[in-house]
């Protein structure tokens, strides 16, 4: 059903730390690796070894340069996947009911057997979280690794999304953002977790932790500075001779 649930029992989602992400793209690779051989149709590639490769990915890492006033530019790596919005515009536009948001945990999923590949949900998503698989003709999106997180055949430490499990810099966290006492909720409260494009009114469940403030170069000069003798004033020896000779020319 494409009617959004008024309330979900839990709000499972990701918290992504823009301060610690190093932009290694390991989450991109592990996401593709897990999801191409598990839930739903494989994530196909077109012309993968040719001149113009492209393919379906559920998670991609952008990099942005931010230029603060009076400070050095910062490079911020920015992983982006489905934000499992509370007011998911992709779900309500679906004409077939293939897109839905689960009442029990708030995960937004696509029932690929019902998807006609019209692409309207991808148009409705402001984040670019949905991609139409060019081989299968159906819409693919992050499932929050729904086939891992409840999978009792996996060891307990593996029951998190593949991207979270693989992240080497601990920049990705998984949990219930509807529970204010959960670790992820506390992390969001502590670090001022934010929504992407809040003005779009999608109420994303996934939160992003902003980069921590950087140290600034101390503008004040040591009061003893004038008393300190300069280390090198003029070159001596051969360089001194060269300097003087070139000066005369």
């Amino acid at each position: 059903m494409t009617q959004l649930p008024e309330k979900t029992e839990r709000k499972m989602g990701l918290v992504i730390d823009l301060d610690t992400c190093v932009g290694c793209h390991a989450c991109v690779v592990s996401c593709k690796g897990w999801n191409t051989e598990n839930y739903g149709a494989p994530l196909s590639d077109q012309d993968p070894y040719g001149a113009d490769p492209s393919g379906t990915f559920l998670n991609r890492v952008h990099s942005y340069e931010v230029q603060p006033e009076g400070g050095p530019a910062q490079l911020i790596h920015f992983p982006k996947s489905c934000l499992h919005c509370e007011d998911a515009p992709c779900v309500t536009v679906c004409p077939t009911g293939a897109s839905y948001k689960r009442t029990e945990d708030g995960i937004v999923l696509v029932n690929e057997k019902d998807c006609i590949g019209c692409g309207l949900c991808a148009w409705a998503c402001p984040y670019g979280a949905r991609e139409l698989d060019q081989a299968e003709g159906v819409m693919k999106k992050c499932t929050l690794c729904v086939d891992r997180i409840y999978n009792e055949n996996l060891p307990e430490e593996d029951r998190v999304p593949a991207c979270v499990r693989t992240c080497p810099s601990n920049a990705r966290h998984f949990g219930d953002l509807g529970d204010p006492d959960s670790e992820v909720s506390q992390l969001v409260a502590e670090r001022g977790g934010m929504d992407l494009m809040p003005e779009q009114g999608t109420k994303p469940v996934n939160k992003y932790l902003p980069p921590r403030p950087k140290d600034r170069l101390n503008e004040e000069i040591d009061i003893l500075a004038p008393l300190l003798s300069p280390v090198v004033e003029e070159p001596k020896g051969f360089l001194g001779w060269l300097d003087k000779t070139l000066e005369k020319l």
Partner: protein, 290 residues
């Protein structure tokens, strides 16, 4: 947005066909017999042909029937229902006119209402999208409906009302373009809100996630035709408004009326191409493009 030929053809021709059905439905002295047959055949060819062409862009057209299920939330599903309601109602109305010389006006009015409702639901598929600020306005629906009834008036040979509606549609088109040019800025969505990094400083897309292209860029970040947008707007307006109006003011409405119609359709096709090609999706911001 990518201007897919199937969608441009669909929205243009189904709009015209439904516009013609509208006028046939509200006509107090509707044609009967073979004349009626000819009119309805043209209307159905355009409306049904347009609807069929819309299935060409589906990834899984064989499941298209499932699009009828979610009318409670989806404008695309509502469009499917309205289209079927319009075509069935007008079908019965046409059958009685063609074979029994009988006009059941109530059926005609009902069918006309469904025809307009179909055009409205089509327009809402675009107008509902907050992600495409240029489309996200009630003017989009007004423009689609105006073009549909103006084209329908031309198709049904109504010169006076056709002239008036052409001017209305042309005015709406110019207004839609003018207001559309500032919609993206007004939406308040920019790279700062997209990344949430705006409070640190100026944000610039430094490196994309991949060196090649992807579905999102092909589908939603179409930038090819924009550099000629202003010229194409003039061409569209001249073809859909100026030329038909001049031709309709000439005598011999049959020949010049046909030429006016052809010019108008060509103009609407150009305008519909621009409708997609000029529309910017907010996802382009993440890629440092619009």
């Amino acid at each position: 947005m990518h201007p897919a030929p199937s969608i441009i053809a669909f929205s243009t021709f189904s709009g015209l066909g439904l516009g013609l059905l509208f006028w046939l439905g509200v006509d107090p002295t509707a044609p009967t017999g073979w004349v009626a047959f000819a009119f309805f055949a043209i209307a159905y060819a355009m409306a049904v042909g347009g609807l069929i062409s819309s299935t060409f862009h589906l990834g899984r057209p064989e499941r298209a029937i499932k699009a009828f299920t979610q009318w409670q939330t989806s404008w695309l599903s509502r469009e499917a229902w309205c289209a079927v309601a319009a075509l069935v109602t007008m079908g019965i109305y046409a059958f009685l006119l063609v074979f029994f010389d009988t006009q059941v006006s109530i059926l005609g009015w009902l069918g006309a209402a469904f025809a307009l409702a179909t055009v409205y639901t089509t327009s809402m598929i675009y107008a509902q999208l907050k992600t495409v600020p240029r489309w996200n306005t009630a003017l989009t629906s007004a423009l689609f409906i105006a073009l549909s009834v103006a084209g329908g008036a031309l198709l049904s040979g109504r010169v006076t009302i056709g002239l008036i509606l052409l001017l209305v549609a042309g005015g709406l088109q110019a207004l839609w373009w003018k207001m559309g040019d500032t919609r993206f800025k007004q939406s308040g969505t920019d790279l700062k809100t997209a990344t949430g990094l705006g409070n640190i400083g100026e944000v610039r897309a430094f490196e994309p996630p991949h060196t090649g292209t992807n579905y999102l860029l092909n589908e939603m970040v179409y930038t090819v035709g924009r550099k000629h947008a202003q010229k194409l707007r003039m061409i569209a307006l001249v073809l859909m408004l100026v030329v038909p109006v001049l031709l309709l003011l000439l005598p011999y409405p049959h020949i010049f009326g046909l030429l006016a119609l052809i010019s108008h359709i060509a103009g609407v096709l150009v305008s519909r191409w621009l409708f997609f090609a000029e529309a910017e999706h907010v996802v382009g911001l993440y890629y440092g493009m619009r």
